[in-house]
């Protein structure tokens, strides 16, 4: 059973531009929809507050792992920390990696999230169940919002 998520996306922007959008905490916050307290520093905890409509109560917390300029940005975090009553910090986090490759038209971004086999608690699945409909709905709203105002 595959315990990782992999995505490839072609971006029509130079690698340096994408790298900045990924690793500058203010730029990251713009598209990720999170207000971060400070810059990303490898080995340090990044904290902030989700700005996603309807999910403003969700705290962002990740540990920055690698920042290999214009090549690799990675952090560990807890996916789906949607239930404020649950302390997710004791759980083994998943690893998120953004890899960049230069292409003729811009940048190839490879995203992987791995480590789902280590999610230790059934509370996670419960939280996901509870929020299933709402979360998916919110995603659709945002998508149309972005489409209207690119």
């Amino acid at each position: 059973m595959d315990d990782r998520i992999e995505k490839r996306i072609e971006l029509k922007a130079p690698v340096s531009r994408v790298w900045h959008a990924l690793t500058d905490h203010r730029e990251f916050g713009e598209w990720f929809r999170v207000k971060l307290d400070g810059p990303f520093v490898p080995g340090q905890i990044s904290r902030g507050q989700i700005t996603y409509p309807g999910y403003e109560y969700v705290k962002w917390e990740a540990v920055v792992q690698k920042m290999d300029p214009e090549r690799l940005f990675s952090f560990t975090w807890h996916p789906y920390t949607l239930d404020p009553k649950i302390d997710y910090s004791k759980e083994t986090p998943t690893l998120v990696e953004f890899r960049l490759e230069k292409t003729t038209s811009g940048t190839l971004l490879l995203l992987t999230e791995s480590g789902f086999d280590k999610i230790p608690s059934d509370r996670r699945l419960e939280a996901f169940r509870m929020n299933d409909g709402g979360w998916t709905g919110q995603m659709k709203n945002i998508e149309s919002h972005v489409a209207q105002r690119p």
Binding site: M1, A13, P79, R124
Partner: protein
């Protein structure tokens, strides 16, 4: 249907981690592959063609049983094992949701850097 009732209870209890852990083994994966066609099989049938002993196969089946990927049903003198797709569907659903979230997030990144 009673089976459905049992499955939904199981689904509520199952977390992705133990299911992944149970599947993270070649022997158990091959057992799942043999059973997932839907036909219940006996331990003898499942041991056939394997280099492992009945005892070893039984141990692996118990691991799968604990996360409810397989259930044993008694018929006469023998226990038959049958596959239950619900726990695997559940983790697939969970990963699909995380995956969908990434699709949306990356599409926002795309509009952001290309805009």
């Amino acid at each position: 249907m009673s089976r459905k009732g049992r499955s939904s209870t199981a689904a509520k209890r199952q977390a992705p981690a133990p299911v992944f852990a149970a599947l993270g083994d070649k022997t158990r994966l091959s057992l799942v592959a043999k059973l997932c066609g839907g036909q219940p099989r006996s331990i003898s049938q499942l041991t056939e063609g394997s280099r492992l002993t009945r005892q070893a196969i039984t141990k692996h089946l118990r691991v799968l049983e604990r996360v409810e990927i397989v259930h044993s049903v008694r018929t006469g003198r023998e226990s038959l094992f049958e596959f239950d797709p619900v726990p695997i569907e559940d983790i697939k659903k969970y990963l699909d949701l995380v995956s969908e979230q990434w699709d949306q997030t990356l599409s926002r990144l795309k509009s952001y850097v290309e805009g």
